[in-house]
């Protein structure tokens, strides 16, 4: 089922990319990144079945990084919300020249 897994993974990754490009809600952007990480995990698991189970170890590292990213990112979003009362990225243009 390697080809099918890669197909599903590619479609999920692209949905995540399109979500990042089309949405302005910072939290939904973060969830789209999680979706992309999940798509990559599916690839890892599918290849682990063919090239050795050790590939599943990398899924653990991806999950750890995702958890750390979610914790820090959501803390940043909360801090931003406290200043601006919004998570809409259109209104957050502090660094815009």
């Amino acid at each position: 089922m390697l080809a099918e897994s890669l197909f599903f993974s590619a479609v999920l990754f692209c949905i995540g990319v399109v979500g990042v490009l089309t949405r302005r809600n910072a939290i939904i952007l973060f969830m789209c990144v999680e979706l992309m990480l999940n798509a990559v995990n599916l690839t890892f698991v599918a290849f682990a079945q063919v090239y050795g189970v050790a590939g599943q170890v990398f899924v653990f590292f991806v999950m750890t990084v995702a958890a750390a990213e979610a914790a820090v990112g959501l803390a940043i979003i909360i801090a931003l919300f406290r200043h601006r009362q919004t998570v809409n990225l259109q209104n957050i243009n502090l660094l815009k020249g």
Binding site: M1, A3, E4, S5, F7, F8, A10, V11, L12, F13, C14, I15, G16, V17, V18, G19, L21, T22, R23, R24, N25, I27, I28, M31, C32, E34, L35, N38, N41, L42, V45, A48, Q49, V50, Y51, G52, V53, A54, Q56, V57, V59, F60, F61, M63, T64, A67, A68, A70, A71, V72, L74, A75, I76, I77, I78, A79, F81, R82, T86, V87
Partner: protein
């Protein structure tokens, strides 16, 4: 991976894959963040089912516990803490130009990944069919994952603990309310 997969297996594999993709599509198109988060949880559950079918039972359990159970709960918690879902917050889709650009980028990426996945991988690296399933039958679902994790990848494992410590400290510092803040 057996040579002739049972029809039941193939049917379920496609079913869960399609459920994952449809849920992901609904996730990026919903306006309300809570609805979107719940569709993403649905995607993650379907992916957990796919992991189990791909001989990664332990990863499937971790997917449900860590991703759907912990990370998505943190997301939902923040959505509800910030009380999003106000009508002015909901219209967050970008304009037509951005959507066209996103569609182009998405299609280009999809074509690229398909071209890559058609590439022939070296036969000599491939394990015999059904190797992973047999290994799991012989030693249990956790040993094939835990063995490399604590032997070959021990350094990466230890570095991960530092990453988590940094993330915890960073989250506390960023989320902390400064004494000068009025709100």
């Amino acid at each position: 991976m057996p040579e002739h997969l049972p029809l039941f297996y193939v049917f379920n594999f496609y079913l869960f894959g399609l459920v994952a993709i449809v849920s992901a599509l609904l996730f990026v198109t919903r306006k309300s963040p809570v609805t979107a988060a719940l569709w993403l949880v649905n995607t993650m559950f379907s992916l957990a089912a796919l992991y189990v079918m791909l001989d990664a039972q332990f990863i499937g359990a971790m997917q449900v516990l860590v991703y759907a159970g912990a990370i998505m709960v943190v997301f939902l918690f923040v959505i509800m803490l910030l009380n999003l879902g106000h009508p002015s917050e909901l219209a967050d889709a970008r304009g037509r130009g951005w959507q066209m650009a996103a569609a182009l980028v998405g299609l280009a990426l999809l074509a690229e990944i398909f071209a890559l996945s058609r590439a022939q991988s070296p036969e000599s690296l491939e394990l015999p069919a059904g190797y992973a399933a047999r290994e799991i039958m012989a030693t249990g679902a956790i040993t094939p994952v835990a063995g490399p994790l604590f032997n070959e990848y021990l350094l990466a494992f230890e570095v991960t603990s530092i990453l988590l410590l940094a993330a915890v400290v960073g989250a506390v510092v960023l989320g902390k309310r400064r004494s000068g803040d009025a709100r």
